[in-house]
Amino acid sequence: MSGLVEIGVGPPIVALGVSFAGSDAHRLLAVRFRVVALEAEDDAAAAAARFVAESGLEQVGFLGVGAAASAEALLAAAEAGERARSIVLASPGPPPADPRLLKIPKAVLIGTDDPAQPPDAVATWRAALPGCHVVLIYEGGGDVAAIRPRAFAEAAGDFLERQGRFGFMTGSVAISPG
């Protein structure tokens, strides 16, 4: 059994995460993406893979919010193969023992004060996902999407949009352009 909540228009994102569907973080991300949030009771990775296959989408971004959903998102992205464009894991907990080696751009969002993350969490994730970008969400706690939804949506959205070039900002910094 699974539910699906789709918001927004734009490049497609498949999001996995308990309580993510319809949340502030979901709505904020949907300002510039078509965000399809799946809430699967059993095998979320399979549900996501099924959705991607049936949707006919050629390029999809993946998002995992929380520990279990992040592990599922990694599996779903691996299953999607060349259709997977990039992946963001938010408050992912410890890395799975055998993470799939994904060649797509990867980012991990971790709260600076996440009580569940050990001090070496950043190094652990770097080792588990070579080449991943680490984004520290200040005071994001153990659930950056729920505690800092705007910060989450900015960082995740920019990465899903521009991947490795997300360090270059696209918005103007002009104060009085007129």
Binding site: L109, T112, V122, A123, R126, H133, V134, V135, L136, I137, Y138, E139, G140, R148, A151, F152, E154, A155, D158, F166, G167, F168, M169
Partner: protein, 340 residues
């Protein structure tokens, strides 16, 4: 007890305009260069006099403390000294780019062989007008900035920072600080909230111009927060900043102090009201916290030590800077080292 020479980098010429900001037209260009040379000379003399540290603070738009970027003067002093700790007391976090500050301090630490100490502050109210900072946000900006700088110094791989006030998509500071994991970091201990923040984060504290009973109260708050966070500060974690007027005798020091008070402006160089609180000549930033010969100064230092202070950061006066530093080195520095 350790001692720290609080220099000013102050303008050596005459300025007719007081207050803040002071118009740049008041600054003679040649005199500005002479002022910097004098400041560096004074820091060198302070090392020779036996000070353990020298300190440089950040202030803007006025002649009394011409150090808008303390790291620049610190770099020059680093090459003119060999022993003293070089203390930036300190960068004003709401006014700066914290990653740039982390880079500058790391660079400074490499320049001076690991002698850097730093105190991160939020700045005095007038300084928040320097670059257009909302005073209501300075506490939160400072706390986030400090957390970011500490992370920038300790994270071994590039990372991104998505904060409330700072966003950096790539942080990767070079060089690393010579001191491992980073230079000693102080934070304001002047308020209950700031002392608690320092205790929670494992930082040292600096308390300015307060009477000993207030110092003890703040140190107790700080130590309780540190204990709750799982560590126990020592005297080396508590710095006290004050003004010191010295002479060979108490009466001679009192005469100098009276002359200083008589010509004190209505505002401090940073624009704060200069009036001593409640008529107490030792109160506030314009007060003089230490006045006397060696015995009187030692008694005050001992009282502060009993309140928890291990480092005295003092602006010394005693009839001209050269004479003051010679006097300090001869009569005060050796005795203050024995305060324990």
């Amino acid at each position: 007890m350790k001692t720290c020479f609080l220099g000013t980098g102050g303008y050596t010429g005459q300025v007719a305009v007081r207050g803040w900001p002071v118009p740049p037209a008041e600054c003679d260009r040649e005199e500005a260069a002479k002022s910097m040379a004098t400041a560096i000379r004074n820091y060198r003399l302070a090392e020779e006099a036996g000070f353990d540290w020298i300190s440089i603070s950040e202030h803007h738009y006025q002649p009394g403390l011409m150090t808008p970027n303390p790291a620049i003067l610190a770099a020059a002093v680093s090459r003119e000294t060999s022993r003293v700790k070089i203390a930036l007391l300190g960068p004003l976090i709401p006014l700066v780019n914290p990653v740039r500050t982390a880079e500058e301090i790391a660079m400074l630490d490499a320049l001076n062989g690991g002698r850097t100490v730093v105190l991160f502050l939020k700045g005095t109210p007038n300084e928040h007008a320097t670059y257009g900072t909302n005073p209501a946000e300075t506490r939160d900006i400072t706390q986030e900035g400090v957390d970011l700088i500490l992370r920038a110094w300790t994270e071994p791989q590039p990372f991104s920072w998505e904060g409330r006030y700072f966003r950096y998509r790539t942080v990767s500071v070079w060089p690393r600080t010579v001191q491992d994991p980073h230079p000693p970091v102080f934070y304001s201990g002047n308020s209950e909230e700031s002392a608690q923040f320092a205790g929670r984060r494992g930082l040292s504290i600096a308390i300015g111009f307060a009477p000993p009973e207030k110092v003890k109260q703040q140190v107790d708050i700080y130590k309780r927060a540190a204990h709750a966070a799982g560590w126990e500060p020592t005297h080396d974690n508590v710095l006290y900043r004050g003004r010191m007027v010295i002479a060979e005798t108490d009466s001679a020091a009192n005469e100098i102090a009276e002359r200083i008070r008589a010509r004190a402006p209505a505002t401090t160089p940073t624009g704060a009201p200069a009036g001593a609180g409640g008529g107490d000549p030792t109160a506030g930033v314009a007060g003089i916290q230490f006045v006397g010969g060696p015995d009187a100064v030692l008694r005050k230092a001992q009282t502060l030590h009993e309140a928890g202070v291990g480092i005295l950061d003092v602006a010394v006066a005693g009839g001209g800077m050269t004479r003051s530093l010679e006097l300090f080195g001869r009569l005060f520095a050796p005795a203050l080292k024995e305060v324990a």
